[in-house]
């Protein structure tokens, strides 16, 4: 008959005979018994001894069982302390009062030991179940708190990697919730040495830690390569290769990349798997920046296509990218925000109010802030201020004297971009570092001038209007892909001593040449969209001249340290 579990059970009963009888029954069943003669005593004993189960007479002097039951239940809190009412009451109403006061069961006099034991056992089971649930609830709450703490820490680390200041540019506006990283959203922006700006919006499949972890190498590669001056196609190829290598098969990252050249007023855009972005002209007309590629991390490097679409830009143009959280978001009634609603907002709003209008439309649709969508807008105007490069070591004047020559032939021109490498070489010369941006821009202009107008014999007059503009870049792509002969020669000469020094860049190509003398003499101002290049080179460098043997010669000079 004895049970293997022993509980502490409180018996509250005003009749000494019944109290004795019950105590005997209960203690014979292997439980420890506490006794109280009225409700007040019962409450005091409960507080002191914390019994696990209570047998409570309903009608007692001083404080009745109903009130005592309420007090005990209140003290027990979340813990289940079963109360069995001992009652001779038989009217339904009285039994209901027992339950309402917090009673879990009742047993009628005279007491049947077997029924009492079964009830104690059943309620003990319930007790254990409740205890388990509470334990699990607390465990889940603790784990959840832990997870949130970890996410906060991870986010702080990620922010150091990802937000290397790129988003704090005046002509960039964005909105991204703090939870976005763990929803797989990623927004990166950086200025390249030549002054163009890269903006990348990414959306990893899946949520939580895996998405956030994938974002780290993506951000690092993006910032590393943009800082070194790599071209968008090369950056995308590297990002794709890296993600393909590290992500499991079923994971990938939808990405839109904007490569905005503020000087030459050119946009290159690549979209793999994100919803349409938009190029919005000052007059309100729109061009959809459509997804034309598979997301990053799907294709093997050999099959990857990093080809960007090219559009001319003008002052007042706006670029808008959105994550699929915008179009795919649902409100409380499970309605989709949908592309149609977005298009209506685009249709109705003046370009400069667009960003606010989209936010308002989303807020009105959902009735609350959304935490899983990203939105970014870039306004085209003056080139954003350049971040000043930090100089790690003070400049020690030293004698410098070297010449390097590169001849880039067809295979190299077709497949490689030599500029990042050349810039790295030049930046070994400390006095040149503060002008890294200008030097890179000049190199990029000279190189693309030699390649496009020299080797590929493209006429920039084609770029007069938007159609011609697209045609120009298509021609460039075709001719470059078919290139079998031709070369560009670059000659770099650095000479310097304590008093100062000079970098001399010479560039020549295998093309038929163009009328440089006329261009330089007439302060050449071609009509249309092309031809800003040489003027820019002249502005950024200390001298630009033409030499029959060396082609174009550009100089950057520096003086002794002030």
């Amino acid at each position: 008959m004895n049970t293997h579990y022993g509980l502490t059970i409180l018996v509250a009963e005003d009749s000494p005979v019944d109290r004795m009888l019950l105590s005997t029954i209960v203690s014979r069943q292997g439980h420890r018994v506490l006794t109280a003669a009225n409700g007040l005593e019962a409450v005091a004993l409960f507080e002191q001894e914390r019994p696990q189960l209570v047998l409570m007479d309903a009608l007692m002097p001083v404080m009745d069982g109903f009130e005592a039951a309420r007090a005990i239940k209140a003290m027990a809190g979340d813990e289940l302390v079963p109360i069995i009412f001992l009652t001779s009451l038989s009217e339904n109403e009285a039994l209901v009062r027992c339950l309402e006061a917090g009673g879990d069961d009742f047993i009628a006099k005279p007491y049947n030991p077997i029924v009492l034991q079964a009830k104690i056992k059943a309620l003990h089971r319930l007790r254990r179940l409740q205890a388990t649930v509470l334990e699990q609830r607390d465990l889940i709450a603790r784990r959840n708190q832990q997870l949130l703490d970890e996410q906060r820490a991870a986010k702080a680390i990620f922010d150091k990697v990802a937000h290397a200041g790129g988003l704090d540019i005046p002509n960039v506006r964005y909105r991204q919730s703090p939870r976005a990283l763990f929803n797989g959203d990623l927004l990166l922006a950086a200025q390249a040495p030549a002054g163009q700006m890269f903006v990348l919006l990414g959306d990893f499949t899946g949520h939580g830690l895996p998405a956030a972890i994938g974002a780290m190498p993506l951000a690092e590669t993006f910032y590393g390569m943009t800082a070194k001056g790599h071209a968008s196609g090369d950056i995308l190829r590297e990002l794709n290769g890296k993600l393909k290598q590290i992500l499991p098969v079923e994971m990938f990252c939808c990405v839109a990349l904007l490569d905005i050249d503020f000087h030459r007023r050119v946009l290159r855009v690549w979209n793999g798997g994100l919803p349409d972005g938009y190029l919005i002209r000052a007059d309100g007309s729109r061009i959809a920046l459509r997804s034309r590629h598979l997301p990053l991390g799907v294709l093997a490097p050999a099959k990857f296509d990093g080809h960007c679409e090219t559009y001319p830009l003008q002052d007042g143009d706006r670029l808008l990218l959105l994550s699929d959280g915008v179009v795919e978001s649902r409100n409380a009634r499970d309605e989709l925000f949908g592309e149609q609603r977005l298009l209506e907002v685009l249709e109705r709003s003046a370009p400069e109010q667009l960003f606010d209008r989209i936010e308002q439309a989303l807020a009105a649709f959902h009735g609350q802030a959304q935490d899983d969508l990203s939105l970014v807008e870039v306004t085209i105007g003056e080139p954003p201020p350049r971040a000043t490069p930090s100089l790690a070591a003070p400049f020690e004047p030293r004698a410098l004297d070297w010449v390097a020559e590169f001849e880039l032939r067809a295979d190299s021109l077709r497949t490689a971009n030599p500029l990042p490498l050349i810039l790295q070489v030049l930046l070994q010369t400390q006095p040149l570092r503060p002008r890294a941006g200008a030097i890179y821009t000049v190199l990029a202009e000279l190189y693309s001038n030699a390649l496009e107008h020299g080797v590929l014999a493209l006429d920039s007059a084609i770029k007069r209007d938007a159609t011609g503009f697209a045609q120009y870049y298509e021609l460039r792509r075709q001719r470059l892909a078919d290139l079998r002969h031709g070369h560009i020669r670059l000659r770099l000469q650095v000479h310097g001593d304590e008093a100062g020094g000079c970098l001399r860049i010479g560039i020549r190509d295998s093309g038929a040449g163009f009328d440089v003398v006329r261009v330089l003499a007439e302060d050449y101002r071609p009509a249309g969209l092309g031809g800003r290049g040489l003027r820019l080179v002249r502005q950024l460098s200390d001298s630009l001249e033409h030499d029959g043997a060396d082609g174009l010669i550009v100089e950057f000079r520096w003086g002794a340290r002030a």
Partner: protein, 101 residues
């Protein structure tokens, strides 16, 4: 969401029929459907007639199937896509990996 699969008489083709929401909840059922131990098909057909929704983890599952079926050599056709499903496949340019009809 229900997923069933039906091999052809010669066992060379496996048709997987998906209806309802094709999303992360379907992961296990979808795996079981294409990893049937009783057949080793050379071609797969996904019948999406009854599928009204597809999320990015469903796209991930399609990539898993493609990987299982031989990667670039995989022969997988997606049939009866409704306009919503087709749009999602289009945005991700999955027609470069699968035959979508």
């Amino acid at each position: 969401m229900t997923i069933t699969s039906q091999p052809s008489a010669d066992g060379r083709e496996l048709t997987i029929i998906i209806s309802g929401r094709f999303d992360f909840n379907a992961h296990q059922a979808f795996r079981e459907a294409y990893l049937r131990p009783d057949v080793s098909p050379q071609r797969y057909v996904l019948d999406l007639q009854g599928a009204n929704y597809l999320d990015s983890s469903a796209l991930g599952m399609l990539l898993l199937l493609r990987d299982h079926a031989g990667g670039d050599e995989a022969d997988i056709r997606l049939l009866n896509c409704n306009p919503d499903v087709r749009r999602i496949l289009q945005v991700s340019n999955f027609e470069k990996l699968f035959v979508i009809a």
